[in-house]
């Protein structure tokens, strides 16, 4: 019983992480058809914003010493700020470009951010202790669950509920949904395009920062590549979920987390190292049968 519960919590926590990341990708894709390859580097940047630039192996903590109620908003603001900045400096010039061009531009931007971090911090992983109180385990019905997992799951659910309320109940959310559905039409009906897009970037950046906080406290290291794996899973989640569908992205994120965790349990020990390879293989299989994704968004279907 206890171990089953443990697996469920593991799956939900990993799935939450992927779902948050997929949401960040899908939000931007929805409003401007951009597959944002810089997302993973925004995650890494948000963690490194807590440190002083140095090439030593031991991190020189700077903002990381703030109390948690200041630290969390600080990191979220960094993520949102960097994301909005990237839209203003780079992506704004690509409004008329085709999606492939934008995708490569974001790939290049991610590369620039990553090597900017490398220049300041070197490529060695650094150990940090971010919110150490969260690694305490809690006992629930015989299973020892790290507090962080509970918080991750709770935060994700809260973020999702908040986002639903935001998208459904506020004017800005309405504009954003309209823009995701049909951008040109929404503009003609008076939706201010740049504002909506900047809003989407800010939200996506803040989500990236939330992932950064979770990853940073979970692993206790800061690594310039730390966002890459989560971002890859998030891409896959958005594709499986149906590009542009927010609900699909979240669903697929949880699904990927569940598949990865279950594989970790059922695969023979020799094959466990290949867990990710199996997950990618499963993804390719899903795409054969549903190339348009599980929940295909309206308006993204290719028209003839």
């Amino acid at each position: 019983m206890g171990s089953l519960l443990q697996v469920i919590f593991d799956a939900a926590a990993l799935g939450s992480l992927y779902a948050l990341a997929a949401l960040g990708i899908a939000l931007i894709f929805g409003v401007m058809r951009l597959v944002n390859f810089a997302h993973g580097d925004v995650i890494a940047f948000s963690v490194f914003a807590l440190l002083w630039p140095s090439v030593d192996a031991v991190a020189v903590v700077f903002a990381g010493n703030l109390p948690w109620f200041l630290l969390i908003p600080f990191v979220l603001a960094i993520g949102a700020g960097l994301s909005v900045l990237s839209e203003i400096v780079v992506f704004r010039r690509f409004r008329r470009a085709n999606p492939a061009t934008m995708m490569i531009a974001s790939f290049a931007l991610g590369f620039v951010i990553r090597y900017f971090l490398l220049m300041l911090f070197s490529s060695r992983p650094k150990s940090i202790s971010l919110l150490p109180a969260l690694s305490q385990p809690v006992e629930i019905m015989g299973a020892r669950i790290p507090l962080l997992q509970l918080i991750t799951i709770t935060v994700t659910i809260a973020v999702l509920l908040g986002l639903i309320a935001f998208l459904r109940r506020t004017r800005f959310g309405l504009e954003m949904r309209a823009a995701a559905e049909n951008f040109t039409m929404a503009r003609m009906l008076g939706v201010r395009a740049n504002r909506v897009i900047m809003g989407a970037f800010a939200l996506s950046g803040a989500l990236a920062a939330a992932i950064a906080l979770i990853l940073g406290s979970q692993t206790g290291t800061a690594n310039i590549m730390m966002g890459a794996n989560v971002m890859l899973m998030a891409f896959i989640a958005t594709v499986i979920g149906g590009m542009g569908s927010l609900a699909g992205a979240v669903l697929a994120g949880f699904l990927l987390g569940a598949v990865a965790t279950v594989m970790q349990v059922i695969l023979p020990p020799d094959a466990r190292a290949f867990r990710d390879a199996f997950v990618y293989g499963a993804v390719i299989l899903v795409l054969i049968f549903r190339p348009q994704g599980l929940l295909s968004a309206r308006g993204t279907k290719e028209r003839v």
């Binding site: 597959v35 690509f94 492939a100 490569i104 531009a105 220049m119 990710d276 054969i288 994704g293």
Partner: protein, 350 residues
Amino acid sequence: MSLSVARRTVTTPILLGLLLVAFALLALVVGSKPFNQTIIDIFLKVIFVVGLWVFIGNSGVISFGHTAFACLGGYIAAWTTIKPMLKGTAMPGLPDWLMGMEIPFWASAVLAAGWAALWALIFGAVLMRLSGIAASIATFAMLAMVNSIYSNWESVTAATSSVVGIPIVRSIWPYLIAALIAVFAAWAYGISRHGLALRAARDEPTAAAASGIDIPRARLIAFVISGAIMGMGGALYAHSIGIVTPDTFYLGLAFITLSMLVVGGMGSLSGAVLGVLILSSLIQILRWLEAGIEIGTTTFALPGGVQEIALGAVMILILMFRPAGIMGNRDLSLPRGAASDSQGQTGPKT
């Protein structure tokens, strides 16, 4: 028809080939060892980028995953050319027939091309059913999958540690020949009926499908050919430095090769080759600056990482102001312009 097309367009690969030969002669004249290595590196990049072009340029589908085929090829070089004794300690899990194998480097390159083509066929049969952004991301998943397998299969690939002992080939000529083969193969594919069909499908998918072009099949053919070229390049890459690790063939190489293609212009073969030559020169200059130049008594050096940042910035600027790349979809030809419209293409679409 195809003969006249061949005659009209053959100036492009010949001019590009002469350009490559000129680079090789330059290395011969300079005669320094590091410069020789630089030119070899340029030839390898030409192979990779031309391989990418065969698929991306003709199909318009951006693939992030082609370095996976270079990885497959690189490990073929490791499996077949390292001395059996060394292999036994580094990769004890190899089957006996492979363990005892020790073939010359050119044979390993040919084998690598075949092996990569086989896997391109298997992956492609699945991936080519997708299109647009879903296809791009699926190729990314393919790269991650191959990297994950090669980074973890300790007994056969030595996991993430470097596999050493691959015979190093320092002569420049094999690389030149391989680059020429890649350029001519890409040209021949481009003017073949499959290449023309695929470009038609890229520019007007609906009309092409209505004219009887089987788009997934046309893409698959390009995917296999480009996979083979990447595999050959991967094996030669291994022979140029003598070491392979899975991360040699991961995001870094994918980014550099893709940016070379984009900067040069993914719409034409000349764009692919010139992109390599231009960006390689830029990288080389930045490397010299990173190493430091002495101006008077002070040494001026850029911090590490500037090279990549500059590359990324150049790429973003080119995409902003010249989205079709430096060559703008045109091919090199003689001034008469006889061949200039033969591969007349508009920018790739997804």
